[in-house]
Symmetry: C2
Subunit: 350 residues, 2 copies
DNA sequence: TTGTATGCGTTATCAA
DNA sequence: TTGATAACGCATACAA
């Protein structure tokens, strides 16, 4: 109703007949002793006046914004889900999260980063693909702690830590799984534009092959070299027909496209080709055939990330309060690997 | 390097040998007259000290946060893409965007809304599904302008306006399209949990049937009544075999699931059934058969929304500056309908 | 247990 | 054209 100005601590103090300090103490439930009576008076006054604290003023005063930033390459698929989970986790720990998407444009990245620093975020979470070395240096010089996720390069050294999905191990597991399912030739269908996150997968693929032994035909293909529509021909040409060939894809979307092109060209999945993705997205579950993939423990990854950051920010109290399990962050600049779990579906069935 | 405190206007003023007021004037490029010399001095000092303005202090002082909130039911699919676009648009107009997902939980919604109001957001964008009447009332009482999108209920009246995707018209068009493609029976596969956004589609479906005339067999199915796996049987049972049957789905994901189940059960798409979705997501383009759908002009929807809000906030200047085309917002409480465009693909082909 | 007074970093008013 | 200085709303050290 009131197009009047918002009530302030001052108004509440007057209404309750106490001082602003007392109001502040009551409303922030601090560890100072307070009379039941005072608490009641203040809370009543606050409720009556519809008092709502002004975050800007509070942040300015305590010289801490209780805001953290999240810098992503985009919002679709994994990124969006991760963002959503990070937002939940942030609130759980009493923080506000500002999510930005760089669209993989370094100009945009620079601008957004500046925005984040202007907001005096207490910390920054950043995807390995979303930040240049120069930007990282700026953040570090600024004194803002930064924590990476899914980052496998020199940037790690500038961070308080890194929380990585163990896509390497996932790919190792994928090869082993396909081998067990009867595959006798193996292909990795990657995306080099994803840089390090692609290389991790390639390494896993390679080591997986080593693990199963035997000299099976195998190769790596990149989406940049072979158009989707040429993929079936390419695969059919070099794989042997006696046993099914396994195709490990960069993610579920690649797997989806790959599988559909194969089917479109008349190759049976999973009889002739078996397909595996990563991410366990909706599309993997509801494709036909449903796609074998790896599940990502979003909540776990977000929680580890936040606990690490909280620890660095000296917020042990909040961790204790939420005190699920004790968290021992690795040394500064260390890495936590988040394991993915195989979800077997028809696309790699028998 | 300096783990020291950030430079302030004060530091810059001292360094440049001017007053803080002058620094502020220079840095905000206000319409006060300034000497070239002063400008240079201040800018040099700022650069040298690595000055970065403190958003909290600025917001507090000017009593305006230049922050707007976006309340969504979730982050996947349309929501995520819309959020990403809204973020871009917000920056374009010099605003910061805080995105929250209610997860369709009213407890969460209430809490998030409180957070938003505590941040003194200048305005609020809200999805029709993400806000209860009670919450809306609270926002309005607070004096914060609210603009809805994809909202078709009483809430509209509490808003400065509503920007709706014209899914009604899309469904009308879909029926006409399917009819032209030879369909002689029609089905709508909906999701009543989406409430108003589902009803709009149903209305369009109904009016589309009326438009093509003739008494064709038709029906509406809801995902709540029929499990995905039973859908093919249900459809096959009541549609005639002489001519293909058309299935208009709530969105691309429903279409995707529907189509895959049909194929799985041996019904040919598009020969026996033709399928249409809405959203033009990645999955629609890359399915096999590729799914006919409707494209959403994200940027347009976001831009209209922001221009409307900016107008309400008295930021005509910024609109002019960006001055693409003139925007005449409807009367308060009015509605802008954003048209969707048909994307023909194989799933409804001949 | 509560109150006073000061600081947080900017912006804006008004006088110079 | 520039400089003092008073808000802005809250938190907190210290005094009472």
């Amino acid at each position: 109703m009131s197009d009047h100005r918002q009530a302030t601590v001052f108004d509440v103090a007057k209404e309750a007949g106490v001082s602003t300090a007392t109001v502040s103490n009551v409303l922030n439930r601090r560890n100072v002793p307070l009379t039941e009576e005072t608490i009641r008076k203040v809370e009543e006054a606050a409720a009556k006046l519809g008092y709502r604290r002004n975050v800007m003023a509070a942040s300015l005063s305590r010289r801490k914004s209780y805001e953290v930033g999240l810098l992503l390459p985009g919002f679709v698929g994994y990124y969006g889900l991760f963002a959503q989970q990070m937002e939940r986790t942030a609130h759980k720990y009493g923080y506000h999260l500002s999510v930005f998407s760089t669209d993989l444009d370094s100009k945009v990245e620079t601008r957004l980063l500046e925005k984040l620093l202007e907001r005096r975020v207490d910390g920054l979470f950043c995807h390995g693909l979303a930040m240049s070395e120069e930007s990282a240096r700026k953040v570090v010089n600024d004194g803002t702690p930064i924590l990476f996720f899914n980052c496998w390069n020199e940037l790690q050294r500038m961070a308080i830590g890194t929380v990585n999905l163990n896509v390497y191990q996932a790919c190792v597991d994928a090869v082993v799984h396909l081998h067990e399912q009867g595959c006798r030739s193996f292909y990795y269908y990657g995306n080099r534009r994803a840089f390090a996150t692609n290389e991790q997968r390639m390494n896993g693929f390679r080591d997986g092959l080593r693990l199963i032994g035997g000299a099976y035909p195998s190769d790596m293909i990149d989406t940049g070299d072979i158009a989707d529509k040429d993929l079936p021909g390419w695969l059919a040409e070099r794989s042997e027909e006696e046993a099914p060939a396994g195709v490990i894809c960069f993610d579920d979307w690649k797997a989806f496209v790959c599988q559909n092109r194969l089917i479109e060209c008349g190759y049976a999945v999973p009889e002739r080709f078996k397909v595996v993705g990563i991410n366990n997205e909706f599309v993997a579950e509801h494709s036909y055939p449903a796609i074998t993939t790896f599940n990502i423990p979003y909540e776990h990854q977000a929680d580890i990330s936040f606990r690490w950051m909280m620890t660095h920010l000296g917020e042990q109290a909040k961790l204790k309060a939420k005190g699920d399990k004790a968290f021992q962050p690795p040394d500064a600049g260390g890495e936590v690997k988040i394991p993915l779990t195989l979800v077997e579906r028809l696309s790699s069935g028998t």
